[in-house]
Amino acid sequence: MKTEKITLRIYDEVSGDAAISVSDGEAIFHKIDAALSNQLTVVLDFQNINLIITAFLNACIGQLYSKYTSDNLNHYLQLENVKEEDRHLFNMAIKRAKEYFLDPDSFNKSIDEVLGND
């Protein structure tokens, strides 16, 4: 019988309780991408993770929006054991990624907008 679901244990993937490395985030992104490309469901298990930074989430999860839609991800990607106090980080990274990949070229503000020049 073929497997339909894989679990990536972040504690194991990052070798500890801190998800703070962008290179770890990228490596996990590639694993998720490979699995999703094969129509597998992916579970990201954050058990025992005590520290997460947004740069890790941008690399690991945000990058998925370059290839997959929200519908795809809601269907095939599951999160487990995310601490309540860390949920806002995920929501921030997801919101940012959706905005970014909607139109990357006009994502940044111009210098005139920032400085208030006409």
Partner: protein, 295 residues
Amino acid sequence: MKNFRVNTNISSDFNGYNYLSTLNHQLRQLKSEQIQLDFSGNNWFEANLCAVLGAILYEAAQDFNDISIINLQPAQKNIFSRNHFLASFGGNKIADYNDTTIKYRRNRLSDDKLIKEFLMTELINKPDFPKLSIPAKKEIIRSIFEIYSNAMLHGDCKDVYSCGQFYPNKTPPRIDFSIVDMGKTIRRNVTEFLGTNMSGVEAIKWALSDNNTTKPRDKNIPGGLGFNLIQKFVKMNKGKIQIVSSDGYWHFALGKEEYLTLDYPFPGTIVNLEFNLDDSSFYYLKEENNPKIIF
């Protein structure tokens, strides 16, 4: 022999950074010289700024200059030995019996696992501050790692320098932590990204504005969240953030910000974070009405 006297007291403020960027400018004119940095006229040099001084001296040494630090006051010599700064410039290192330093380090960026291990050990095993809540402590550590990853992503350099100091006897008690890279400045990154020439201050303003990021398009990774998050936390914690990059200086404390221009550009980026350790807040910075994560 060239002698540079550190006559003024050096704190983490505009004058301190202006002095250090001027010193850097002077040292970078020299090649194959014996250089003495003379502290006989100096009574105060904030230990976290060893990260900045270390970066400046290391770069100057790359031009075959022989650098020595002389006439440190006993208390300064003690702290510069405890935080291992002097060990990089011909001095000794001694045990940090007060456990108030976060050691000076020049980290190879390629060793990100080692950096993580080092900082976790240095930050987590410090004495507990009774009024500092666990969520506040976690946000402090998270902020420091966000800045580190920022330097790795944007600095385009080999090394990052860091040093921190706990000030338990100040009111309120605080920790200062400085991270320095001598890579591409924010000004250069933003100028290249937008194709528009601008001052250091203008570039910092642009980089701090919501959404903006100079992360390379080919990386395909969205960015620009870390500073936003740190700024929110620092505001609640009543701490401060400073950024020096090229000739731009930005200071944020108690909800107010200040932009100034340095006399000489600093050839990299300094980020200094100051956190208030008298913080019993139990905040999570969470979105109250949307705890569920939806892709």
